[in-house]
């Protein structure tokens, strides 16, 4: 065998622990790298990806079955690149059911596949016989219903949920078999089209013109362009992309740092050995080769294993994180694996090369005496100062240790800082998200929603035999009845009106509030709640999408009335197309309208059943809605993904600390043996080594938390920007002093967890062995 191989192989075998550490670290780093790159790639354009996989519809059109025949539709669809349908489409109002699902658009489809809108069934199965229904739900999302749930609505056939599927284009809220659709009294025929060119609104319009040419003009009941869907998806879910991206970047940096630390440390730790090799006649190049080969053996193995592990485990994690975007079957692009499989060995080689080049130049005599030479002045001054303090000796010795190897300590510190930063950021985003969620959709179990009748100009789809809600009392009587019930603490009366905002392309809805708006209305962020006619407050997204600002006046038009309203404030809501006005404005746009619903807040401890019974006896025409589910499933998915990613990055950071302690303990084993020989207990040795890293943990915490807070501000701002709204205080200022202190402690946790095992190992090492081998 060639002497380089021989010496390298011998070194690998003699330093089993170091070899294992390099292997494990490179393995973990490769897996993290694959995951980070995969995350970056997957979060780059999740909607487009999902749309491409599903062959999403560029345009969905609902036709009036009275005006066109199925044959006409099929014929006209020949002008599209691909089409699916016609599918029978029915509208089902679930407000009379046990669970409020809103108004469901149900399509009759025999098959989830096809040339357009290949709906993916991610749980359960497709509906194959009457009485079965499949709900459109984002993969991974959890709701109150599961497979097997029965949706029974008075006067309707009962439907059993047999599966959950997802359509990126949102072609329907639920699917049943075509026969079942017929029984649901369909009101429309759904057609789905793909066009050769559909990148712009004009192209989609041209496509629509082509597929409706020759059909009666009034046959089109409604259309949905993929551009609208994408807009909505990217402003709602796209909010999370900056967050996922930053995790990808953090993973990348942590992986690079830790490998640099471990590999260069291995070479530095071998300086004595290098001197020996030179002394017996190895040329400088051979010495360098020995070291490169020595670290390459475990590094290449670790890289191979890590890349595989990253594809297996990392993919699961990324999949969970991006599932909310409708990416069902994630596969990492080939470049991800190529970069990881080739990039990692290159990284290892360059991390080894720097100290190996130094080793190559080092005179043999200096190399042999390495480790016993005098240390730098600063390290000595610090240790002297520490010696004079009142700290227990193992602690002061430990505190001085990082200064003896500043390069290594700096790299270790950097990985702790990144770990702390990740935790801080993840905690912050979680808190921001919770704050947002609480603000826009209160879960409050103390609220009761009551329907008094249909909102203005929007007839509720009713079925024969089911009474629509119709209040028996007048609006004023209802309100005072509710206020007089025991347990009522606040009442908000609401009605709404669809309007056109002049200059805007999309419709908006004006919501009128009366009563306890401060307690039950949306939160006012800037400006003030309308206090007279002609004033509205809007969500910031409404302003940003239309280029408006507070103080501007807009013209709204509804039911033939047209009026000017002034924007007097910004409110926090989830819906960009809602504007809010005071009741006084109702009289301008819809004189004499009554409240269509009431929202009541009950005093703590009020019995819901008894209260709703009292409401019903007060006005039997009011319908009590079942309580709403307040949690956002997307938020849950993102928060749990953040948790997993944080744990992974925290563990990798701790691994960096682990490695540093292994190297330090190895270099200092003679010192440690001596300390034990003069009576240092194993526990004191452990304290010494753990303290040396604990110090880095404290500093890492102090540096990492502010950086994490700063990055959080950037990420939240980017998230708000992606959501076309403004970053507001309740989302930005989420860190309280106690939370910050706790987060700073994570630095110590990472350091101590990483240090404990090797420190205890070093403390238990037999002194006789150490002294014998020196």
């Amino acid at each position: 065998m060639n002497p380089v191989w021989h010496a390298a192989w011998a070194a690998v075998r003699r330093r089993k622990l170091q070899t294992i550490v390099i292997g494990v670290v490179v393995c973990a780093a490769s897996a993290t790298l694959v995951m980070a790159l995969g995350l970056l790639e997957a979060s780059a354009a999740p909607f487009d990806r999902a749309f491409a996989t599903q062959q999403g519809a560029h345009l969905a059109v609902a036709f009036d079955p009275e005006k066109v025949s199925e044959a006409d539709l099929t014929r006209a669809a020949g002008h599209a690149e691909a089409s699916a349908g016609p599918f029978l489409q029915a509208t089902v109002d679930t407000s009379t059911g046990d669970v409020f699902l809103g108004t469901l658009t149900v399509a009759g489809r025999a098959d989830p596949g096809g040339p357009v809108d290949r709906v993916s069934v991610w749980q359960g199965r497709w509906a194959t016989s009457p009485g079965e229904i499949v709900l459109n739900r984002t993969p991974g999302a959890v709701g109150r219903m599961d497979v097997g749930f029965r949706i029974s609505l008075p006067g309707r056939p009962a439907l059993t949920v047999v599966g959950f599927a997802h359509s990126v284009t949102g072609s329907a809220d639920a699917w049943v078999t075509p026969e079942q659709a017929t029984a649901l009294q369909p009101t429309a025929l759904q057609m789905l089209y793909r066009f050769a060119h559909a990148g712009t609104a004009a192209e989609v319009d041209a496509g629509q013109a082509a597929v409706t040419a020759g059909l009666p003009a009034d046959a089109v009941l409604g259309t949905l362009s993929h551009l609208t869907v994408k807009d909505k998806a990217t402003s709602e879910l796209g909010v999370f992309i900056p967050f996922l991206m930053i995790f990808g970047v953090l993973g990348l940096v942590v992986a690079v740092l830790i490998v640099a630390n471990v590999v260069s440390g291995a070479v530095v730790a071998g300086l004595r050995h290098i001197g020996m090799l030179k002394a017996i006649g190895f040329t400088p190049n051979q010495v360098m080769a020995v070291y490169l080969v020595m670290v390459s053996i475990p590094a290449v193995t670790g890289c191979a294993l890590g890349t595989v592990a990253g594809n297996l485990v990392g993919k699961r994690i990324v999949q969970d994180a991006v599932e909310g975007f409708g990416v069902d079957e994630l596969s990492f692009a080939p470049w991800v694996n190529v970069v990881a499989a080739l990039g990692m060995p290159v990284l290892v080689a360059s991390a080894a090369l720097v100290p190996a080049l130094r080793a190559r130049r080092l005179p043999a005599a200096r190399a042999i005496s390495a480790g016993t030479t005098s240390r730098t002045g600063r390290a000595l001054r610090i240790q002297r100062w520490l010696s004079g303090t009142r700290l227990p000796r193992p602690v002061s010795l430990g505190l001085g240790m990082p200064f003896a190897r500043t390069g290594r300590s700096a790299l270790t510190l950097a990985s702790v800082v990144l770990g702390v930063m990740t935790v801080t950021l993840a905690a912050g985003v979680t808190m921001s998200m919770t704050a947002y969620n609480n603000a826009v959709r209160p879960t409050d179990t103390d609220r009761v929603e009551l329907l008094a009748g249909p909102p203005l100009g929007a007839p509720v789809m009713t079925q024969p035999g089911v009474e629509p809600p119709a209040a028996k009392l007048s609006d004023a009587q209802d309100e005072s009845m509710l206020r007089s019930l025991p347990g009522t603490t606040a009442v908000l009366a609401t009605t709404q009106l669809n309007t056109e905002v002049a200059g805007g392309t999309q419709e908006a809805r004006i919501v009128f509030h009366r009563g306890d708006t401060a307690a039950l209305g949306p939160r006012v962020l800037t400006g003030h709640w309308p206090d007279g006619p002609g004033q509205v407050v809007v969500p910031s997204r409404f302003l940003n999408q239309r280029g408006l600002s507070v103080g501007d006046t807009i013209t709204v038009q509804a039911r033939g009335n047209r009026t000017q309203v002034k924007i007097v404030g910004v409110v926090l809501t989830n819906n960009a197309d809602q504007i809010f006005a005071d009741w006084s404005t109702v009289d301008v746009l819809a004189p004499g309208a009554r409240a269509s619903s009431y929202l009541v807040r009950m005093a703590p401890g009020t019995d819901r059943a008894a209260y709703t019974a009292a409401v019903s006896s007060g006005d039997p025409g009011l319908r009590v809605l079942p309580p709403r589910d307040g949690t956002s499933s997307t938020a849950v998915i993102i928060i749990s993904a953040a948790l997993v990613l944080t744990l992974v990055l925290g563990a990798v950071a701790a691994l960096g600390v682990f490695n540093t302690v292994v190297l330090n303990a190895r270099e200092r084993r003679r010192d440690l043996g001596m300390l034990k020989s003069i009576g240092m207990t194993p526990r004191q040795v452990t304290v010494l080594l753990v303290t040396s890293m604990g110090a880095l943990g404290v500093v890492g915490g102090l540096i990492g938390v502010p950086i994490g807070v700063a990055v959080h501000r950037l990420v939240v701002a980017a998230m708000a920007h992606a959501g076309q709204s403004d970053a507001i205080d309740i989302l930005l200022d989420v860190y309280h002093a106690s939370a910050l202190a706790l987060l700073a402690l994570t630095g110590i946790v990472i350091a101590v967890l990483g240090a404990l095992v090797p420190a205890r190992g070093a403390a238990r090492l037999s002194i006789a062995t150490v002294l014998h081998n020196e």
């Binding site: 002297r384 010696s387 227990p392 000796r393 020989s677 003069i678 009576g679 207990t681 194993p682």
Partner: protein, 230 residues
């Protein structure tokens, strides 16, 4: 402790390593006030013998009793506490901490027992005075000569006034002049009552300062003589 009381009692001590037998049923008694010199070829088990007495390693079989306590029943922490108070050790290669000054290296031994650093330094300074190295107290090991380093190591070993001083080839890394000075130092210590067990290769030095000389070959005591010191 009275002169003549047994400080060390080793009975039938056997120590095997994976590929060698370091001690092969060795028995030895050291009494208070003695200065025992251990000689023998390299690899014969001398260092192992010292390690057994210091509790740095455990015998495969046999018992080691030092100052009346059976080391076999102590756990690692117990052994460490025992060493702090009962044993001072000096090594061939000094084993000083490179990043502590000479004075701090010595004070360290007392600080481990919980002595305040001011008091520890005071005691260390006294020892520096006695050993004639006061002027080197703020110097780091790398700048000290071999002889000076070994004096610092001796001072450290004496810090906690141990009843037993163990020295493993304390002059092995020194030139003959410094070696002699260190030996003189140990002799002086013994003359004021310090019990001493030292391993050395130098027969001349051994005969000069030991009250008893034992020779270890293949892990057993091959020869033993008591003597009058020159």
């Amino acid at each position: 402790m009275q002169n003549g009381d047994a400080v060390v009692e080793m009975t039938n001590v056997r120590k095997e390593y994976s590929d060698s037998i370091a001690l092969d049923g060795l028995s030895l008694t050291v009494r208070a006030g003695e200065a025992v010199a251990v000689m023998g070829p390299s690899g014969s088990g001398k260092s192992t013998l010292l390690n057994m007495i210091a509790g740095l390693d455990r015998p495969t079989s046999g018992s080691v009793v030092v100052h009346g306590s059976d080391l076999g029943v102590l756990d690692e922490t117990g052994l460490a506490l025992f060493r702090r108070r009962g044993i001072g050790m000096i090594f061939q290669f000094f084993n000083l901490l490179d990043d502590l000054s000479a004075l701090d290296n010595v004070a360290l031994a007392a600080q481990l027992t919980g002595t305040a650093s001011g008091q520890a330094r005071k005691r260390a300074l006294e020892l520096f005075g006695e050993l004639g190295i006061t002027h080197r107290k703020n110097v780091y090991p790398a700048q000290l000569s071999g002889g000076e380093r070994q004096r610092v190591a001796v001072a450290r070993a004496l810090m906690n006034r141990p009843a037993l001083l163990l020295a493993d080839e304390p002059t092995g890394a020194l030139d003959s002049r410094s070696g002699e000075q260190v030996m003189d130092l140990l002799l002086d210590l013994n003359q004021i009552g310090q019990t001493l067990l030292l391993v050395t290769h130098d027969e001349r030095l051994a005969t000069r300062c030991a009250t008893r000389l034992i020779e270890v070959v293949d892990g057993r005591i091959a020869r033993e003589h008591s003597m009058e010191r020159a």
